[in-house]
C-alpha cells in the first residue's frame, strides 16, 4: 500500500493512505490506554503497539481479516 507518514513534534503520527488519514497519538493520562488511533472522526484506544497496528490496518485495508495465532498441541511427555 502506498502512502505517507509524517511525525509531529510531540511524536504523533499522521498516516495518509488509501484516501484516508489516520492519526496515532499518545493517549491522555486519564484514559486507560497508551495510544489513540483516530480516523474519519472515530477515535479508538489501544493498549499496545500491536493494538495500534490492528486499528491502523483495519482503518486502511478494507479487505483486512485478522488471523489469530494458533499454537499446536504439545506432544506427550515421554
Amino acid at each position: 500500500m502506498n502512502g505517507k507518514i509524517d511525525r509531529e513534534a510531540d511524536g504523533t503520527l499522521l498516516i495518509a493512505a488509501a484516501n484516508k488519514r489516520v492519526r496515532v497519538a499518545r493517549a491522555p493520562a486519564d484514559l486507560p490506554f497508551r495510544w489513540t488511533v483516530a480516523d474519519a472522526g472515530r477515535r479508538r484506544g489501544a493498549t499496545s503497539v500491536t493494538g495500534v497496528l490492528r486499528h491502523v490496518r483495519a482503518a486502511l485495508d478494507r479487505d483486512y481479516r485478522s488471523l489469530r495465532l494458533r499454537i499446536a498441541p504439545l506432544p506427550p511427555i515421554s
Partner: protein, 336 residues
Amino acid sequence: MIPVAVLTGFLGSGKTTLLGRLLRHPDFARTAVIINEFGEVGLDHDLVEASEESFVELRTGCLCCAVRGDLALTLEDLLRRRDAGTVSPFERVAIETSGLADPAPILHTLMSDAGLARRLALAGVVATVDTVNGLATLERYPQSVKQVALADRLILTKTDLAHARCADLVARLAVLNPAAKRLEASFGEVDPARLFDMGHPVSLRAHDLPDWLGLEAHGEAPAGGHHAQVSCFAILRDAPVKAVALTLFLEALAEHCGGDLLRLKGIVNIAESPDRPAVIHGVQHVFHPPVWLDRWPSQDRRSRLVCIGRDIDQAWIEALIYAIEAEVAEVAAVGA
C-alpha cells in the same frame, strides 16, 4: 512418535518415482503411504508398490483445500488399525500431495490436531524439483514456488537429463529457500533416510540446530532472496528477548502476515531463560509451542529467526520486533 514426511512437488516432478524407490528400500518397508490424487482417475497409486493395508488413496480432491478433514480421519484410522493389528506396524508415514497442492494446510492439520499430535510428529517437508522443467515451472506456477519455499529438503530430480541447466535452477532455489538442504536424485535414487531425518522441532537437540535453521550452510544471514514475491531472510538479535515480547511479536506476525508467512523457524534467547534457548517453528499462523533446548548449540547466543514469506518486508518485521521490545521495556520500567 511416528514421523510423518510430507512429499510435495509440482506435477511431473518425480514424487511418485521417489516414493516408489523409497518403499522398495528394505529399511523403509514399514511405511504407511497416503497418496492424494486430483482428478477422477487416480493413477499414482498404481505406480507405487506398497503393502495394501497401509496404503490409502485420497481421491476426493486436492488435499490442500477439500479434504483436510479427510486427512485427519485417514491418519486416525490408520493409527487405529495399527493398534488393532489389522495393518502392519508401520514405523513412519509418507503423505504424497497432489502436484497442485499447497502444502501449508496439510502441515496445519498435522500440527494442530491434538489427537494426531499425540502419536505423529511432522518430520518435515520434501519437495521434488524437476531439473528439466523446474525453472519454467517456478516462473509460471505460484504453487510450485510455495512448495519449494516450505520445504526442508529439496530433491532435484531428472538430473541425468539436465546437467547443463541445473546450475541456474540451483541458484534460483538457493535464493528462494536457502535453508533447505538440496539433494539430487537420478531415477528416484536418493538415500531414503534423508527424507525422514529433517529434525522435527520437538525432537531437536542442540547440535541439530544450525542444520535445521540452515544458517550455517548459507551464511549467517540468508540475504533477502526474492522470487515471485517470496523472500527469505534472517533476523539476528544480540540482546535477549523477553518472553512477552516474543509472544506479542508472534501474535502480530500471525495477525498481519499469517497467510503470507510461509515458514518461520528460529532459536531465541529468552531473557527469562538465558541458558535454555527456545526453538520456535510456525507455518502461516500456526506455531508449535516453543521447544526448550537443554543448552545452547554453540557459543553464539544470539536469537536467530529465519523467515520465508510472500510480500513480507524484512524492514517491517525488524521494526515490529524493535517496537514491541521497546514498549515492553517501557512498561516494565514504569512498573518498576
